[in-house]
Symmetry: C2
Subunit: 508 residues, 2 copies
């Protein structure tokens, strides 16, 4: 299809998709706002709790259907094919809602297609299913056991705003849940309803083409919080997946824990992602570090959960040279760029202002905010300030990082004081593996991924990936939301004891 | 050692073991009560919250030490050897505190030793560690990743009262946590302090012999709840393992979820464990079923989380014959036997009385309670009553089960209405695999283990075992507290990106 044909075939119409049917919400009317601009077409209407009940009831019914993992694989492949074909329309729609730019969104689109295909393959092969067989031993105390896995149940997915595609309603959480055989009720992010509608329709069509019950997938819209809360509290929901802020993630976690029947909440909430630079790396790779640090913390205007929010440089002239280089490069950067939505803009400006006001902190490059968006900020703090002020060890979402120049001992004390995070990065030379190994040993006990001589932004979608970490990085330290292992969140073990093969369910 | 020598070498003295040191609590004084008898020697004193702080601080310090998984393996093996050698003393002490009898306790002792050895092997080999390597692909978007696991942190273990050894302070949770490389602070059950002291000292000695930091293991005593709650709320604790009642497990879960930094709670809380008998099985194996049902629900006086609490028999004469056989066998049973402690006795008698009072329920064999303990009870209910009364689908801990005679359709409706459980059991003939397969497919979606032509009591400790299930069976549906996979609860993935081998920590 040409771009124009795509725009026609994939035109958002302002509907939720409830169990395969396009449905107009019966709640309030809202429209997304173009970042730095005005309201976008079409308008949407929030669904009501009663409409949510219908979607969940259909999902529960789908859950009771025969478990056909091959059909889930077919649905995911069909969704991937359709998303690939709709690339132009989807990218254009997402760009209108996010202003993230075509280059970034083309990359994210390709990743989203690849994620769906990877999970389609997983649905078919079950490569990560924990299948173990114990043959019968002597006597009744050692019966034969066949350990396998079963879909966990109906999954409520909350789409993130900072990755409209890869963490959207057809993103990693939906793909992983479907790969496990779980029906999904996905809540669109209200800042990106049209992107969600387009992606959601493609998944729903894949589900239909694969012959799965229509309740297997729904996408619901809401401008506020009532339906989202009802989703977490709904007795038909068995797990929640969420990507977003600590505050929102914790709210959902608390709601789920307070249920009569608590359910797992897989909330990935971003983090500080400290980056440490050794003495010799600072000396030998000054320019590359300047470029790498700038590129990483300003990628997507700093709106990544993996943005490096703390840069620990060596004290002495080499660390200072890296810092000076970052400041000089910032001065030449393009002017303000709009952030994803007003809530992020206000959180960013408040966070930068609050941190700047703390003792020991200097705003080396202060951001100006105008109608067009936010400029990048760079803060510098003393090691003592970082150690004393808990607020300096917390993420500020958006285009800002905090630089600190520290002795090796201070750097270690800072590493020790940090909260758990999704990632930590270490830059070092071949002569400094002792330094790196010692810090890696310390940091590995509190982060999900450790990077050598690289940057935390850019998360490979692969079997060995782990995008997680203890709270406050996530609410479920044993799990990842990115990579093949993301499917593990939605499978539950079950053991069959002394079962003749003929009596085993087909999926077991 | 002779039995007498053992009694001397392994004499309980009334102390907690805080980081390897015998310490007398500074709180209230209490003594265990012999089931059906008077207070036992020695007396114990609860530790204070300040003493708990010391134990946790030592555990946190141990957590910061170099991770030496081989040493954890050595500690577990040493504990297993010592526990094996102390068999006579440990069994005698446990029998005095539980009245479970030597035969049962010898078996449980052997299982506990075997669990420690299995987990020692796991510590050394890491057979269940999820190690995955992605080689570097083309370009910076595909860096090499090495996924491995790291100990989750300090684990608080609550010992159960119904398995003084296998789920005690040296039981499955402690063994699994140590196998993962996690320090443990274990809270003894106040009904079995001497058993806990003996077992705990053996583990502490193993930890010392292996050269691990003494904070790696502590056992604390408390008669009440304050220290237990403080353990769950302590910022130095990273996960909780618990086996016991739904009420207590939920309380701990809620406390952990309310923490500023929530932590996983692996609570295994028992369940109804329905058992379904097909028409032909009832007809062809009447006597074996009578014996099997009686033995399973009265094993350990019904004080097993896997006790079959609902027996669904076919309507018609064959189901009636099984029921009649159970009633007749009960009449010939030995008289009252003491339950584990007063709380269980009162919960049992109240539960039986409440259920008996519901419409459609008959107390076919009513229990008498006297000073010596409780007699076994058998209730019968109509299928309609089971479907209507939620209380009839809940566990009553102790020597009681509920029989119901139902048509195939009613049996399926009951299976459908049941809450999640640890287990379900199906008895069927080779000609009835369709019946079994259909029920298995339904029940596998809500239980952790399904048993063909067997009984749920008796849980094989092996690689394929899964002793878990969705809430209310447990608070963590993806995990098991028994078997090799129990170690999974205490490891957390971590990915090393582009790491040169020389910079990897030794344990990675």
């Amino acid at each position: 299809m040409s771009n124009t044909e795509q725009q026609t075939a994939h035109r958002p119409t302002g509907v939720s998709v409830l169990a395969g049917v396009d449905v107009t919400g019966k709640g309030d009317t809202f429209a997304a706002t173009a970042p730095g601009g005005g309201p976008l077409e079409p308008t949407y209407r929030s669904i009501t709790p009663a409409q949510l009940d219908e979607a969940v009831a259909a999902a529960v019914q789908a859950r009771r259907a025969p478990i056909d993992l091959a059909a889930f694989g077919a649905a995911l492949d069909a969704a991937a094919d359709a998303l690939e074909e709709a690339a132009d329309a989807v990218v254009a729609t997402a760009d209108a809602e996010t202003a993230l730019g075509e280059t970034r969104l083309r990359g994210e689109h390709a990743r989203t297609v690849a994620q769906l295909r990877m999970m389609a393959e997983e649905a078919r092969t079950g490569s990560r299913r924990d299948v173990v067989d114990d043959p019968a031993g002597d006597g009744p105390a050692a019966p034969a056991l066949h350990r396998t896995s079963v879909p966990l149940g109906v999954v409520g997915v909350f789409a993130a705003s900072n990755f409209p595609l890869a963490f959207g309603v057809a993103g990693t959480d939906t793909a992983a849940a479907l790969a496990a055989g779980c029906p999904v009720v996905a809540k669109a992010h209200p800042a990106q309803p049209a992107t969600a509608e387009l992606c959601g329709r493609l998944v729903a069509a894949g589900v239909a083409a694969a012959g799965l019950p229509p309740g297997t997938f729904s996408v619901v819209h809401e401008s506020g919080y009532e339906v989202g809360q009802a989703l977490v509290q709904h007795d038909g929901i068995d797990a929640i997946a969420f990507t977003g802020s600590l505050r929102a993630g914790r709210t959902l976690f608390d709601l789920a824990a307070d249920r009569p029947r608590p359910i797992p909440v897989y909330a990935e909430m971003g983090s500080l992602n400290p980056l440490f630079v050794s003495r010799r790396a600072a000396a030998e790779r000054t320019d590359a570090l300047v470029e790498g640090i700038i590129d990483s913390y300003l990628l997507g205007e700093g709106q990544f959960c993996t943005k490096p929010g703390l840069i620990v440089l060596p004290d002495g002239p080499d660390g200072q040279a890296v810092l000076d280089g970052v400041v000089a490069a910032l001065a030449e950067r393009a002017p303000a760029h709009p952030l994803l939505h007003a809530g992020i803009t206000s959180g960013f400006t408040a966070g930068v202002a609050d941190a700047s006001a703390l003792p020991g902190v200097t705003a080396v490059h202060a951001p100006a905010v105008d109608g067009a968006g936010c400029q990048a900020a760079l803060l510098q703090a003393t090691p003592e300030a970082v150690l004393e002020e808990e607020a300096l060890r917390r993420e500020i979402f958006g285009p800002v990082t905090l630089a600190v120049r520290a002795s090796d001992e201070q750097a270690r004390d800072i590493a020790d004081a940090l909260e758990p995070a999704l990632t930590a990065s270490l830059h070092f030379t071949d002569d400094e593996t002792g330094w790196a190994r010692s810090l890696a040993d310390l940091l590995a006990r509190k982060v999900g991924r450790i990077i050598a001589n690289g940057y935390p932004t850019g998360v490979r979608v692969s079997p060995a990936q782990h995008h997680g970490g203890p709270y406050p990085a996530t609410t479920s330290p044993l799990h990842t939301s990115v990579g093949l292992a993301a499917v593990d969140r939605f499978r539950r073990p079950v053991a069959f004891q002394s079962f003749p093969d003929r009596a085993l369910p087909s999926w077991a």
